[in-house]
């Protein structure tokens, strides 16, 4: 019996290590395929290079990094205000009817596959941008808008959780001191839920940086360094997604190297989010 228990414990330990093992495998293989090329070309040339022309052996990903950056900023510019507003709405101002509609709406937004978002953005948003703002429509702006909606559910749910987790005395105390409802929310509750909200934003960022399919459909995928929000560009993810099928040799390794950079960025973001959420007692 004792031995059986010991064996089971060891087996379970192995099983539990599976997620670490998978993570390790992913790290190993991505780096193994991508790092040699990064050394070959030189880290500086790869990360700071502005030309991505695989047929000529130029592999610079700065335009992609810039685009990922701007698209994410744009998405956050939409997602944070909207997300916070909805979280506040759900927590503090809940006329039951409206909440009954909003909550399923948010769950649905979370469940819709990204290809459908991309398609909708292509059909509805892109022509609007092209006709009213100029440029090809397939642009960082369009991408940011769609991405903003895609990360909304993440921001809303975690912010809402942290707002709900606050001790009721915070709100009661503020109101007792004569603050209006809004003042209570804006000056007491939100700052108190700060770390949870920041965590939600970082997770939303991670989701935004990692999005591929919808971005391939909406960003236009030009290779040049973007100079305005109406320019077309490609992110680190779409660069991989769009050329992976066709690539071989150095080109393929360069795409893996792009994956390495992406992986590192996401890991840093994730660790930050985990650290923050653990700190507040998650």
């Amino acid at each position: 019996m004792e031995i059986q228990e010991k064996i089971i414990e060891k087996i379970l330990l192995l099983v539990a290590l599976s997620s670490i093992m998978i993570l390790g495998l992913i790290t190993f293989f991505i780096f193994e395929e991508g790092l040699p090329l990064m050394w070959k070309i030189g880290l500086r040339a790869f990360i700071l290079g502005e030309r991505w022309v695989p047929s000529q052996g130029s592999f610079g990903i700065l335009p992609m990094i810039a685009c990922s950056f701007w698209v994410t900023i744009g998405a956050l510019a939409l997602g944070i205000p909207l997300g916070l507003a909805c979280a506040i709405f759900l927590c503090e101002w809940t006329p039951p009817l409206a909440a009954m509609v909003l909550r399923p709406a948010i769950q649905l937004l979370a469940a819709i596959p990204s290809v459908i978002y991309g398609f909708w953005g292509l059909i509805v948003l892109v022509p609007l941008v092209r006709n009213y703002l100029g440029g090809p429509g397939l642009s960082i702006l369009s991408g940011s808008l769609i991405l903003g909606f895609m990360i909304l559910p993440t921001i809303i749910s975690i912010s809402e959780d942290s707002l709900n987790a606050l001790p009721p005395s915070y709100k009661q105390g503020a109101l007792a001191l004569g603050a209006t409802h809004w003042q209570t929310i804006w000056r007491v509750l939100i700052p108190a839920a700060r770390s949870g909200i920041v965590t939600s934003i970082i997770l939303g960022m991670g989701r935004a940086i990692g999005e591929t399919m919808a971005m391939i459909m909406i960003l236009g995928n030009a290779v040049k360094m973007p100079t305005s929000f109406l320019d077309s560009a490609r992110t680190l993810t779409t660069n991989i997604g769009i050329e992976m099928g066709y690539a071989s040799g150095d080109h393929r390794h360069a795409l893996f190297a792009t994956g390495v950079v992406l992986f590192i960025i996401i890991m840093l973001l994730n660790s930050l989010a985990i650290f923050l959420s653990r700190r507040r007692g998650g």
């Binding site: 003042q183 591929t212 459909m217 973001l269």
Partner: protein
């Protein structure tokens, strides 16, 4: 005067928040209306039961439905034992130990890895290195890795909410740890675990980038676990991009949305019934 400014600010804030909430609802409605509006008329029994013909212009999407189901099934088959096992280990066999922290960190990190990276990994590991080729197996195993964190966290939640008294009783009756787990804990955690599985199914259906790189995009009915397969979301993507038949694209999109709607409703209902109401 002071009073008035405060209340003015509050009124403005209220309006803005309402606008935010309404626009969120509006966007969702717009998306649904667009896809379902064009797509629902296309859906009839033949659409679900036939294979595509004429380069996808006619017929149905049966192979993709089968592909989606089988791929998800393989993923769940591999991820559930691993996930539940991990959750059991974390909750019952360790407490705040080093190993527990490391495992949790690994799981959280895994949850954040973007799907294109999983695709690259699956491609180089399953398709090339293990020589499985573009197949249901490659895609399913990759998908399993992607849903593992979800299963682990929901299983953990489910196990966590079981009152300690269950364990006390089992131990006091002389049960071993494993017996406690299998007879007292697991049966009661099953609803929660099941919910986690359903949630993962919902996520798997929308997965595209990783699957294209690992399961291929062949439209033929699969004959073995080593056949390549095309899932509904990939089919939608290809149809929408190639523009061969927008009708079929909308139909596939509508089917996709209905499917995730269904799964989400079931998951939400289960979540409410079995997890949230455990005091």
């Amino acid at each position: 005067m002071f009073r008035r400014t405060r209340y003015l600010t509050q009124a403005i804030a209220k309006v803005l928040i309402w606008i935010a909430a309404l626009s969120t609802i509006a966007v969702m409605v717009l998306i649904l209306v667009q896809i379902l509006g064009e797509g629902l008329p296309i859906l009839h029994l033949r659409f679900f039961l036939e294979s595509p013909r004429e380069m996808g212009r006619e017929g149905g999407i049966l192979p993709t439905i089968i592909g989606t189901l089988v791929l998800t099934a393989v993923a769940i088959l591999f991820a559930t034992p691993l996930g539940v096992g991990t959750a059991i280990f974390l909750r019952e066999y360790t407490r705040e130990s080093r190993i527990g922290h490391i495992i949790r960190f690994g799981t959280d990190c895994l949850a954040g890895v973007p799907s294109i990276i999983f695709g690259l990994f699956g491609f180089v590991f399953f398709v090339i290195y293990l020589n499985m080729g573009w197949s249901i197996l490659s895609g399913g195993l990759t998908l399993a890795a992607m849903i593992l964190p979800t299963i682990i966290s929901t299983a953990e939640e489910a196990i966590k909410t079981i009152p300690y008294s269950f364990r006390e009783v089992s131990y006091s009756l002389g049960g071993t740890r494993w017996q406690t787990v299998t007879r007292a804990i697991l049966p009661n955690a099953l609803p929660g675990i099941f919910t986690g599985i359903i949630l993962s199914v919902g996520r798997s259906i929308g997965e595209t980038a990783a699957i294209i790189l690992t399961a291929g995009s062949s439209l033929v009915m699969p004959t073995s676990l080593f056949s390549p397969i095309r899932t509904m979301s990939i089919h939608f993507y290809i149809l929408a991009r190639e523009g061969i038949s927008m009708d079929m694209a909308y139909g596939t999109g509508a089917a996709l949305i209905l499917l995730v709607l269904l799964i989400n409703t079931v998951a939400g209902w289960l979540l409410n019934r079995y997890i949230r109401h455990r005091a």
